[in-house]
Structure formats: C-alpha cells, structure tokens
Subunit: 186 residues, 4 copies
DNA sequence: GTGTAATCGAGACGGTACGTCCTGTCTTCGG
DNA sequence: CCGAAGACAGGACGTACCGTCTCGATTACAC
C-alpha cells in the first residue's frame, strides 16, 4: 500500500540489491573488513557506484544488512531439556558465532567501528543482536528469575564476549562451566 | 646500553616524539579516531611525515604508546579495606575508563580496530591492560581462590565490558551489585 | 505525407519540443555552453531525458536548432542605398551578432566545438549561416564583381571574424573603414 | 636566483613535467581534444593525478604549454626577398599550421574552448600567437605602412582564419592571391 | 676543526578511494 | 507510441591521504 501507490520511474532492481549484499559477504571473507571499499564492492557486484550509494551510505550499513539475518539464525538455539543444557548450548553458539562465523566477523567489525563512529553505533543500537538472542534463552531457562533481564544478559554474555574480543583463545573457554557460574549468580 | 653503542648521526629528537604523542592525544578528543590521519598528526605536531613513519608504523601504534601509561594509572586501585569494596572500586574505575576517559576512548578504538586488523590485535596482545589491572585486584581481594585467574578476570570484567562496548548506558550499571554477583561465583 | 502515413501511437508533443528549445536558450545565457548538460536541459524543460535523446543526439544539435532562425534574422540587412552603406551595415550587424547576441554566443560555441568534434563540424557545414548572409549583401552591393563569391566572402567577414574570435575588443573595430578596405580589394 | 633561494621540500620533477606534456601531445593526435581527460593524461604519462593538478588546472593549460613553442616556430618565416613573397610564405605557413599541424589542432581546440570558457580565453589572451607572428612579417614587409598594426593583422590573417575555422577546404585558398589582396588595402 | 652520518621539516612523487555528477539506456506507469 | 520519472552500469571529476622519495639544514660523534 505504502509502496504500491504513486510510484513512478523505474523500480529498484532486486538483482542489484542481492548482488551488492553477496559481494560484501564474499569480500569480507576474502579480504576482510578493513580492505573493503565502496568502489571494490560496486565492482565486485557488477554494479554502478551510484547504485550502491543510492541505497546505502557506508560499507557498515551494507554489512549490517548482509549479516543480520545470518546472525539471528546462528544464535537461535533449540530448547535442550534443562536450563544448564540450554545455557551451555547458547554459549557454545555464541563462541562459534563470535569466533568463526562470517556473520560474527561482520558483527565484530561493526562493533569495532561503532567504538569510534557514532553512525555505526546508532546502526547497531537499532537491532540488539546479542541481547535479543540471550533474552530468549534466559527467559526460557529461568522463567522465574527476579534479576532484571538486562543484567542477566550482561552476566551471561559478558565473560565470553570479553574473552573473544580481547583476543584470548576460545579454546580456553568452557561453556558448561560458564553456564554453571551464571546459574550461581542469578 | 642499547643506546650507548657506536651510534652516529643526529640522535632522535625527544621534542618531536612528545609533539607527536601530544598531537595524537589532542586529535583523538577533537576529531576522533576515525578522522585521524598520519598526515594530520604530522601537521598538528609540526613534524615531518617521514619522522612519524620512522618511529611508528600506524596511528594505532602511536595511540597505543600515547594512551598506555594513562590507562594503567586509571585502572590502578588503592586497597579499600574489604574484598567487596576493592572490587566495587575497581569496577567503578573500569566504567569510568571505558566510558569517559580519553585513554579509554583510545583503548576502545584500538580494540575495535583489532577486530579486523591483525597488526592491531597483536599490538594489544602485547600488553593486556584490562587483564593485568584486574588480576592485581582479584589476587588482592581473593588470595585463596582456586578459580583460574584468567576465568576470574573474564567473570569480573566481562559484564561491564559487554555493557559499555555494546553501547548500553552505564547509568544502568551498579558496580556494587556486580561485585556481589562476582563474589557469588568465585 | 511523411507524417500522414500509418502513424500509430501518441504523436510528438510540440509542447515538449519548444520547452527544450527554450530551456537551451535560457541555459546558454544563464550558465553558458560548457556547463550545459543533457540532464540539465531535460530538467529545466520539465521533460523526460529520453524525450530529449529521442529527437536530438547532442546539446550541439539542440542549440543549433534553437539559434539558427535568430541568427539568420540578425544577419539579414535592409538595403541601405549605397554599396558602402550596405557593407558597413552588414559588418556592424556581424559584430553585434558575434559579440553580444545570444544567438551569436551559440554560434561561437558551436564553431568552437566544431574544431574538435567532427559531428558538430558536419552540423555547421549543413547551413553556412555567415557565408549565406554575406553572399546576399555582396551580390547586392557588387553585382558586377568578377571575384569568386567565396573569396569575397572571406575577405569581407574574415577580419571581423578573426578580431572577435581571437578575443580582441570590438570597440577597436570600425565597420566603415573595414568596408572601405574591402571595396579596395574586390 | 629567484628560484634557488629559500626552496624547501622535494623539488618539482622535470621528468614528470615532460611526461605530461608529451602525453598531451600524443593523446591530441590519437584521440583528439574532446576525448582527452585529466585522468587519461595522468595515466598515459605514468604520473599521479594530483601531480597533474598541482601544476596545471585544466587540460587547456597543459595543451597550451605543450603547443606554444611549436606554434611559434611553425609561424616564424624566413625573409623571402620581396614583400609579396614574404606575405605569401607566411600565409602558406598559416594554412599549414591551422589545417594540418598538431600544434595548430591544439590551437584551434583552445580557441574553440575559449569561445565558451573565460578561463581559456584569458589563457590565450596572455600570448597572442597568431597576432605576434603576423606583426613580425608585416613590419618586415611594410616598414612604412601607416595602417595600425592591429588592423593590418586582422586584414592579413582574417580571411584565411575564417576560411579554415568555418570548415572550408583550404585547397580553395591561394596564398599569393590573398597576399596581393592584402597589399592592395594596406 | 673536519668529516660522516642519521636526523629534522618540508613538500613533491605515483597511487588509489572518496563521494558526486553526467552519460546514454532501461523500465515502470499513465495518457 | 509518446511522455515523465527515475534507476541502471559506467566512467571522469577534483580532493584527500597513503607511504615513499628527495631536498637543504641541523646535530651529534669519530677522527
């Protein structure tokens, strides 16, 4: 309705849109975030640069759109029977996401950029990928907890988040132990 | 010793060194990390660009040298009497550092860059500012703990670290509560 | 006939045609030839770009169509009684045309473009605005001359043409003197 | 002296300067004035674009510097014995220059551009290539003429100039006849 | 003192990405 | 089929910064 009314002119090309998102995905793996350029994205996608700028302002925006869906899916956990198993499975997924997954690499790059670029910070603030995924798990595992969900989230995610982002080797992490630690607090 | 050997030629100018470090400090506050350039640093310092490149490879290196001493000092806590008070004071200092301090801004910028730049990651790995400061406090407050210090560090720092870096408002944090949570685990 | 055959569909819009020609006239005065673009012309005329391209290939073509009629009229001189007066009047008109008239500005722009663009050269070759106007005057003033008309044309127009196009100030020209010079040769 | 005093920084590269001028000369012949771009010139010269922009503002300026010396030389005529021979030789050189010479093509392109670009007009006004060369010949051939040199110049050059620039075939020109016509006026 | 040598500020060098603009084509809807 | 609108791929624009390179000038140590 909002879309179909007074539309005039050539409509946006879906083909160009997915080509750009795919190019960003590929380039992130091949050359990394820092080496990615708007020019390079456009060329890789076989798309004019103006077309890229018409729909996204920065490579951060494209990366966000390209990675958000994957991220959400990778952090969604099947119920595992017990609270401890649930939390363990989630923390394992979190490590996998942050450490190895392309979507996680994108997330870390964006979060890094957000530390010194308010525009990116705002972009990330619009969709709290980690917090949302953790809330689902916590509410399922501890429906009766009286701890505010925000604080519980930080306690659950924080240690792993710090461990990975500060460059420590995730091999030194044990998800089950962390889950047990968490249950002792909450 | 390293310096006194058969050195010949004009020695490094201490004046140029501090001018560069000062310029980086100033520019970080004035224009932010992303907008800082090697060219801009050299001009602000009144120094030739070659002189900058001669002693540092990247702006990350300069920033690191400029901020490390401040960071260490801001995270060093006087013994406060009780373990809970000690830990609370440390977490308060940590929030101040990450959230408001220029040195903390530098640290966050570097940590962000480290997520997609291995050279910066290595730089940070060389000096574990957060981990070192936390270890001191933990060993003082809990001399008898049998939990590995690395894990204890992650449990202590993690929630606050995640809270701030993910863009949440530190006003929602309560250091004493977090310290109590921590003591329940360890 | 050409028009009356089995034409089908919406006929060419006269309104669009004159809007484009008017836009070109306006833009030539307002921003000059070099700054004119096909995009700008279409927008100024309130016309689709495709409509412009459908009927003209280049801005030179539009400008030519827009200025030709004016040029012809500005260079047509009423008989003035004597050959000398006729020629003087013509040379004065020529200076006015080349120096101040919008149509003259268009002509000079096109002639300039023709020096490095064969397509424009061919366009101008199709209608010899200056030569045709001079021939009329010369044949009227000197019906018995045995000098080839082409050479006479060059002798009459050349000095003024050179003067103006090489950027000299037309104030330094005296049409009557030039007419006398011309009569001495022919 | 003026140059050698307080110079600081790396001096301008003569090698880059001649590479650019040579590239412009080549490109003018190969692809023509209109198709020449600053980007193309820089690439052809194996030079950074900034280097081109540092020393010249427009392709017109480069072309002017590249062609001026050639033009001057091509229009300098050896004394031929008689005024008529002198003037004939000059007019023949003028036709050669305007019609066939690469330097002449450059001149025509610049003169064309000058018709709608005041910056180029000013550039050409700074060095009156045609006028200067004609003055030399006229003053040598007619040392006692009382006609102002500017007017004599226009009478001498004008017809040929008009003939060539308006796209007429120079085969139809006869230099000796034009020289005779000129002598009849002056 | 007189080299010798590494430093300094300055600024030009060849490159490359930036974000904008225009090109000429295309794809939509409405007359 | 024409027309307005506007997105498309492409490519030049002029600018900024990259990291390197030459300059002349300075400043130490070794002779």
């Amino acid at each position: 309705m909002d879309d179909a009314r007074g539309r005039v002119g050539r409509p946006r090309s879906e083909q160009a849109r997915v080509a750009v998102l795919q190019a960003v995905d590929d380039l992130l793996v091949e050359i990394g975030y820092a080496a990615m350029t708007m020019k390079g994205i456009a060329e890789r996608a076989g798309v004019g640069r103006q077309t890229v700028y018409r729909w996204w302002s920065t490579k951060a925006e494209i990366l966000f759109e390209a990675g958000a869906a994957d991220a959400e899916q990778e952090l969604a956990i099947e119920p595992a029977g017990s609270p401890l198993d649930d939390l363990t499975a989630y923390l394992e997924a979190l490590v996998r996401f942050l450490w190895r997954s392309p979507a996680g690499a994108a997330y870390r790059a964006l979060l890094g950029e957000a530390q010194h670029d308010p525009a990116v910070a705002e972009l990330l603030a619009g969709k709290d990928i980690l917090g949302d995924s953790a809330r689902v798990v916590i509410e399922r595992a501890l429906p009766d907890s009286r701890m505010p969900i925000e604080r519980a989230t930080a306690l659950l995610i924080g240690p792993t988040f710090f461990w990975v982002l500060s460059g420590r080797d995730p091999a030194g992490l044990d998800a089950r132990t962390l889950a047990e630690d968490f249950l002792r607090q909450v």
